[in-house]
């Protein structure tokens, strides 16, 4: 592939003697949807947090747009064009949805920030809840607001932490539509999840982790039929 926008090389991580990740390498192409799946304990979350900057790897390097970000803080990684959501949503509870978005806006002008927030809410079809408090939202609404909030940063790469968990299939499909249109605009989407159905149907590239190692990767067809994947899960 052309220079990948996200490159992970030989990442290893141990927690108190237990190996969470072992020499994991990945390459993510620009403006694609890449999914990482794996059973519980496969190290998906650890990998995600290392890329997002909340954990440091023991070994290995991470590159965004050919620039190394290994060990950088979450805020620095953010400034390199990476935005993330949280698996357990961390919205600002005593602020409205609109305020949640505007709080992270980077533009200098208030009106521009508000306009951007409103556009994103419309894009995700949740314009109606702009005035609701963060604490009042339903589970599905939270996930969408998390995505909107991350998009406020005009990221090159959108990291999604289990965006489909616990969501009804109809909403899952709508989210996939939105993600695809983001790719059309040039944004790269990288996510981890359990939902095999979505991953094996909609991703351009899939990585399968098991027990801290990459056991398979490729397009959805080859991964679907890979015996090692079935082994890992069943």
């Amino acid at each position: 592939m052309a220079e990948p926008i996200l490159r992970v090389e030989g990442i290893s991580k141990r927690f108190a003697g237990r190996v969470a990740l072992s020499a994991v390498s990945m390459q993510v192409a620009r403006a694609t949807i890449t999914g990482v799946i794996g059973p519980n304990g496969s190290g998906k979350s650890t990998l995600f947090n290392i890329i997002a900057g909340t954990l440091r790897p023991d070994e290995g390097r991470v590159f965004v747009d050919s620039r190394e970000i290994t060990g950088a803080s979450a805020a620095e990684i953010c400034s390199r064009g990476v935005a993330r959501t949280f698996q357990i949503s961390r919205l600002f509870a005593e602020m409205t949805v609109l305020e949640n978005l505007v709080a992270v806006a980077t533009s200098k002008d208030d009106r521009a920030a508000i306009a951007q927030a409103q556009e994103l809410l419309e894009f995700l079809e949740i314009g109606a809840i702009a005035g609701k408090w963060g604490a009042e939202l339903s589970y599905g609404q939270r996930k969408l607001v998390e995505i909107a909030r991350a998009l406020m940063l005009d990221p090159k790469i959108l990291l999604l932490d289990e965006p489909f968990a616990g969501i009804n299939p109809r909403l899952q499909n709508r989210i996939v539509e939105h993600l695809k249109s983001l790719c059309d605009k040039g944004i790269t989407v990288f996510f981890i999840d359990h939902e095999m159905r979505i991953v094996l149907a909609e991703c351009d590239l899939v990585y399968v982790l098991a027990e801290g190692c990459v056991v398979a990767h490729g397009d959805t067809e080859s991964v679907r039929q890979d015996p090692k994947v079935l082994d890992a899960y069943f």
């Binding site: 997002a52 900057g53 909340t54 803080s73 979450a74 805020a75 953010c78 400034s79 935005a83 993330r84 949280f86 961390r90 919205l91 600002f92 509870a93 005593e94 602020m95 409205t96 609109l98 305020e99 505007v102 709080a103 992270v104 806006a105 980077t106 208030d110 009106r111 920030a113 508000i114 306009a115 409103q118 702009a130 005035g131 963060g134 909030r149 991350a150 940063l153």
Partner: protein, 322 residues
């Protein structure tokens, strides 16, 4: 969308009375209002770091006390006029707050509160102990002021500035960022908000007015000693004012200051222990039954508009234009 009539009424009434007191009122009324203004200014300052940024602490009186001593020493030893002394005192607050904030704000919530609490106690002990400088327990006596009105108006001006500054902050993106830090600092940081810079800024700003007011208060009393400068009563009342009024709101400290000044006036002089015990009960009661304070209750009942008005209004205007 109209601005809230109730909010305007409260602020308007307070402003009118505050301006009228030195002209029409007795010396007693002036004293009462000065005491109220002290609580008000301390409360608005604490509201910035405690209410908005969520870094609650029990050490506000540190800045007040340091300012009081800096100002008093200037006035006593070098005859500096009270208004200049207050300015220097305010600056001393900044000088103290910058390194302190940089160090302390790295601590998480409870540790930060304990650290600041301990600081106030240690500063009081220093004031008592280094008596070659501070005259220790005897205290320092200043020439009493003949006309309180200039001092009064300066205090009123500071109070007004704090109120307006809080209002502007509440309706700004910086205010939203402070609230984001309060709600979830980790998430805010992960999403690019420069938390350290912002919270240290809030902390430093929260130190200026108390330090200046400390000096003004010493000038007003004509006297300062460690228990007066670092009075736990001030600390407690300040927190109670903000908590009872509503943390992280524009009107909260104003409402709280008015209510508690009355309670203070009724009880503090004759029954200080009862007063403090009641303040304790008020804090406890508010924590248990109305943690968002009186203003929070008013917002819930829609007597006051909830949340930050400017954004709602701008949002509506943008939506209409679209």
């Amino acid at each position: 969308m109209r601005r809230s009539p109730l909010a305007i009424a409260i602020v308007g009434a307070a402003a009118v009375m505050a301006l009228a007191v030195p002209v029409l009122g007795s010396a007693y009324a002036v004293s009462f209002t000065i005491q109220l203004l002290v609580f008000l200014i301390l409360a608005y300052s604490w509201n910035l770091i405690g209410g908005y940024a969520g870094y609650t602490h029990f050490g506000q009186v540190s800045f007040f006390g340091v300012g009081a001593y800096v100002g008093t020493l200037l006035m006593f030893h070098w005859g500096v006029p009270w208004y200049l002394a207050a300015i220097v005192a305010g600056l001393s607050g900044i000088v103290l707050a910058i390194p302190l904030g940089g160090a302390m704000l790295r601590l998480k919530g409870p540790y930060f509160a304990i650290g600041m609490f301990g600081l106030a106690r240690v500063l009081e002990a220093f004031a008592l102990g280094f008596d070659s400088v501070t005259q220790g327990g005897t205290g320092i006596y200043l020439k009493p002021m003949t006309d309180l009105r200039p001092l009064y108006f300066v205090m009123l001006a500071i109070g007004a500035v704090m109120l307006v500054a809080t209002w502007r902050l509440d309706n700004s993106r910086l205010g939203l960022k402070l609230l984001a830090i309060r709600e979830d600092e980790g998430a805010a940081e992960s999403l690019g908000i420069r938390t350290t810079r912002i919270k240290v800024g809030a902390f430093v700003v929260s130190a200026i007015a108390p330090a200046a007011v400390g000096s003004l208060y010493a000038a007003y009393l004509g006297f300062i000693d460690p228990p007066t400068a670092f009075a736990p009563n001030l600390e407690l009342t300040t927190i109670a004012v903000v908590l009872l009024g509503g943390m992280g709101t524009v009107l909260g400290p104003l409402v709280g200051a008015i209510v508690l000044s009355v309670v203070n006036e009724l009880l503090w002089a004759s029954y200080p222990q009862l007063y403090l015990a009641i303040i304790g009960v008020i804090i406890l009661g508010t924590v248990l039954f109305a943690p968002r304070g009186l203003v929070g209750v008013a917002m819930k009942h829609a007597w006051l508009p909830a949340g930050r008005a400017l954004f709602r209004r701008l949002a509506l205007r943008c939506a209409k234009a679209a």
